[in-house]
C-alpha cells in the first residue's frame, strides 16, 4: 500500500510537538532537573503534611507549651522525637514547616495565577485597543510599578487585616502590573505579524484573533514571569509575616516561624529560625532554577 505519493516517513523532527521538544530541552540541564526534583519533593511533602507529621501545629490542643524550644532530636511530652526541634510555643518545627510550606505555596501560586489572568487581560486590551485606552492603562501600570512592592503590600495588609485571603489580595495588587506590561510588550510585537493580518483576511472576529491567535503566542514570556513572580510572592508573604502584618501567630507560615525564632538567634537556639529559613530558601531557589531553565528553553535566541 506504499505508493510514493502517500508515504510520509515521520522523522523525529517532524513528529515532535513543540511541547515535547520543550520538555526534552528542559531536561538537558542538570541543575534545572535538580531544581525541579527539589520543587516537586517540596510540593509532595507539603501536600502530604497531615499524614506524615506527628503534630498539627494549628490545633492548639495538640501543642504543649512544656515542649517549647527543644533542641533538634529531643523527645517531646507526647513521646515523638522533634528532629528539627520545637519553637517558642512548643510546636514541632518539622510539622510547622510542612504546614507552613502549604500556606506559602498556596499563597504564591494562587496570587500568581490570579494576577497573571488579570494582568494578561488588561495587557491584551491595552495592546489591541491602542490609543487613549492603552495610554491610560499603561500609565496606571507605570504608577503601580514605581511603588515598592513591599510598601504597597504592607499598606494593604495593614488596612485589610490578617489572613490568607487578604495576603493573596495584596499580592495580586502588587503583581498584576508585571504581567500586564509583559503581555502588552509581546502582544504589540505579535499584533503586527503577518499571521494576524492573515487571520483578519479570513474574516475571524477580533476577540478570536486576540485570544486564540495573539495570546498563545505571548505565553512563553508569561510562563517565565509567572515562575519568577511566584517565588517573589512567596518571599513577599514571608517578609510580611516576618514583619508581623501577614499571617496570625495561630497559623504559622514560614515567615512567622522565622520571625518567632529571630529573638532566640543570639542565645544559641538557631533551629527555630534556621530550618524554616532553609525551607523557604530551598523553595525559592528551586522555583527560580526551574524558571531560569524555562526562560532559556523558550528563548529562541539562546537555542544551540
Amino acid at each position: 500500500m506504499n505508493s510514493p505519493s502517500t508515504t510520509v516517513i515521520p522523522s523525529a523532527a517532524t513528529t515532535e510537538t513543540p511541547f515535547k521538544r520543550f520538555v526534552r530541552n528542559f531536561f538537558e540541564d542538570r541543575i534545572a532537573v535538580i531544581g525541579l526534583v527539589t520543587l516537586l519533593s517540596i510540593i509532595v511533602l507539603a501536600l502530604l503534611a497531615p499524614f506524615i507529621t506527628p503534630q498539627n501545629p494549628y490545633d492548639l490542643a495538640n501543642v504543649d507549651l512544656m515542649d517549647s524550644r527543644l533542641a533538634p532530636g529531643s523527645e517531646t511530652m507526647d513521646g515523638y522525637v522533634a528532629w528539627l526541634g520545637t519553637d517558642g510555643a512548643g510546636r514541632d518545627l518539622y510539622s510547622a514547616i510542612l504546614y507552613g510550606l502549604r500556606i506559602s505555596l498556596v499563597v504564591g501560586v494562587l496570587s500568581g495565577i490570579i494576577a497573571a489572568t488579570v494582568g494578561m487581560s488588561i495587557g491584551l486590551i491595552a495592546a489591541y485597543a491602542g490609543g487613549k485606552v492603552e495610554s491610560v492603562i499603561m500609565r496606571i501600570v507605570d504608577l503601580q510599578l514605581s511603588l515598592p512592592a513591599i510598601l504597597v503590600a504592607l499598606v494593604l495588609v495593614a488596612a485589610l487585616g490578617k489572613g490568607v485571603d487578604k495576603i493573596i489580595f495584596a499580592l495580586i495588587v502588587v503583581q498584576w502590573a508585571y504581567y500586564a506590561r509583559t503581555v502588552r510588550g509581546s502582544a504589540l510585537v505579535e499584533r503586527n505579524k503577518e499571521y494576524v493580518e492573515a487571520a483578519k483576511s479570513l474574516g475571524l472576529s477580533k476577540t478570536r484573533i486576540v485570544f486564540r491567535h495573539i495570546l498563545p503566542n505571548c505565553l512563553a514570556p508569561i510562563i517565565v514571569v509567572l515562575t519568577v513572580q511566584t517565588a517573589h510572592a512567596i518571599s513577599l508573604e514571608a517578609t510580611l509575616s516576618f514583619l508581623g502584618v501577614g499571617l496570625p501567630q495561630t497559623e504559622p507560615s514560614l515567615g512567622v516561624l522565622i520571625s518567632n525564632g529571630f529573638q532566640y538567634m543570639l542565645s544559641g537556639r538557631y533551629w527555630i529560625s534556621f530550618f524554616p529559613g532553609l525551607a523557604l530558601l530551598l523553595t525559592i531557589v528551586s522555583i527560580n532554577l526551574v524558571g531560569d531553565r524555562i526562560r532559556d528553553v523558550l528563548n529562541p535566541r539562546l537555542e544551540k
Binding site: P18, Y195, A198, K200, L202, H213, P216
Partner: protein, 331 residues
C-alpha cells in the same frame, strides 16, 4: 459580470511628515475567472491597493475617496462587521511570506476549521473533511496526517500551499495574492504558479496577482496593470503591454530584464530612483526619470487615456502612438 470594480480609489496615510498618497486615483476591474497582474516597484502602492480591497488598511491609512465594488456591492464605508463577513468568504488573500502567515502555535486543522466556521455553521467533522479536501486539491500528500501538523513541520513551499488551501476553503470569488512566490525558490515558484492557475480556472475564481516580477506575470496573467507612485500608469492585455509598452516606465522595466538584453551588453536601466510618495513632483511622477519628458510632463499630471485594444495609459507622449494620430480622450 465583473467580480471587482475599483474606481478612482485613493488611499492616503496621514503621517506626521504629511499626507502620503500611497494609492491615488486607481481604477480597474476584474472579470470572473480573470487573472490580473498588478506590477510595480516597492512602494508603488500595489499592496496598499490589495489591502484597500480587503478593507484592511490600518490607521494612519485611510480610504479617502473612490469606490470598490465586490460582485456589484459597494464596500467602501461598509461597517466593520459587514466587512468581516466578506473577508475570507467573497475575497481571500494570500500573503508573501508563508513562514509568517500561519500561526506558529496552532495546528493546521485548527486554523483551517476556524476559517470555515467563521463563515458557515457546519459541524467540526464536516469542516475537517473540507479542510482535508482543500489540502488534497493543492497537492499536499497524506493530507489527513498533515492536518494535525504544526506550521514549522512544513517546508516553505508546502506552507504556501497550505495558505492557498486556506484561501480557497470558502470558495471566494476573488483571491488577492500579494507576492506569494517571492519568498520561494524558483522551482517551487513555478509549481505553485501552475497549480494556482489551474485551481483558478477550475473554480472560476478571479485572481489579482501582486508582484514586482514581470516574468511571473507574463506566464500567468490575462491582463496587467503597471503601477508607479500610487497610480496605474498602464493597463492592458498582458501580451500587448509586454510586447508594445505604451508608457516609458513599462518599457524601462522590460528593458531592465536580463532575458531581453543582448549578451555582453550592459542592462538598460531606469535612471534615478523611486520618488518619495510624500514629495511627488507636480506633474507626471515619472517625469524626472523619463527620457521623453517635456515641459508639460513636469507641470500637468497626465490623464488616463484609452488606446485601441482595450488598453489604457497615463502619458503625455505615449510610445507607440505618435501625437499626430487621433487619440480618444478619456476623462
Amino acid at each position: 459580470m465583473d467580480v471587482l470594480t475599483v474606481e478612482n480609489l485613493a488611499t492616503h496615510f496621514m503621517t506626521r511628515a504629511g499626507v502620503i498618497k500611497a494609492v491615488d486615483g486607481v481604477s480597474f476591474n476584474v472579470a470572473q475567472g480573470e487573472v490580473l497582474g498588478l506590477v510595480g516597484e516597492s512602494g508603488s502602492g500595489k499592496s496598499v491597493t490589495g489591502y484597500s480591497i480587503m478593507g484592511l488598511v490600518d490607521p494612519p491609512g485611510e480610504i479617502v475617496s473612490g469606490s470598490i465594488r465586490i460582485s456589484g456591492r459597494e464596500v467602501v464605508g461598509l461597517p466593520e462587521e459587514e466587512m468581516q463577513k466578506l473577508r475570507g468568504k467573497e475575497v481571500a488573500m494570500i500573503f508573501q511570506d508563508p513562514m509568517m502567515t500561519l500561526n506558529p502555535v496552532l495546528r493546521i486543522d485548527t486554523q483551517m476549521v476556524e476559517a470555515i466556521l467563521a463563515h458557515e455553521k457546519v459541524s467540526r467533522k464536516a469542516a475537517l473533511a473540507r479542510a482535508k479536501q482543500a489540502l488534497e486539491k493543492v497537492g499536499i500528500p497524506a493530507a489527513s496526517e498533515r492536518l494535525t501538523s504544526y506550521p514549522h513541520q512544513f517546508s516553505g513551499g508546502m506552507r504556501q500551499r497550505v495558505a492557498i488551501a486556506i484561501a480557497l476553503l470558502n470558495s471566494p470569488k476573488l483571491i488577492i495574492a500579494d507576492e506569494p512566490t517571492t519568498a520561494l525558490d524558483v522551482t517551487i515558484q513555478s509549481q505553485i504558479l501552475a497549480e494556482i492557475q489551474q485551481l483558478c480556472s477550475e473554480t472560476g475564481t478571479a485572481l489579482i496577482w501582486i508582484t514586482h516580477d514581470l516574468t511571473v506575470v507574463a506566464g500567468l496573467a490575462h491582463r496587467i496593470a503597471v503601477m508607479y507612485a500610487g497610480r496605474i500608469v498602464e493597463l492592458g492585455n498582458v501580451d500587448d503591454v509586454l510586447d508594445n509598452p505604451i508608457h516609458p516606465y513599462t518599457r524601462g522595466l522590460l528593458g531592465s530584464l536580463p532575458s531581453n538584453a543582448e549578451h555582453g551588453q550592459p542592462l538598460e536601466q531606469i535612471p534615478g530612483s523611486t520618488p518619495s510618495l510624500g514629495r511627488l513632483p507636480p506633474g507626471c511622477a515619472f517625469s524626472p526619470r523619463c527620457r521623453h519628458a517635456a515641459e508639460i510632463c513636469r507641470e500637468k499630471v497626465p490623464e488616463n487615456q484609452s488606446f485601441p485594444g482595450d488598453r489604457q495609459a497615463r502619458c503625455h507622449f505615449p510610445l507607440i502612438y505618435k501625437a499626430s494620430e487621433p487619440l480618444s480622450q478619456d476623462a
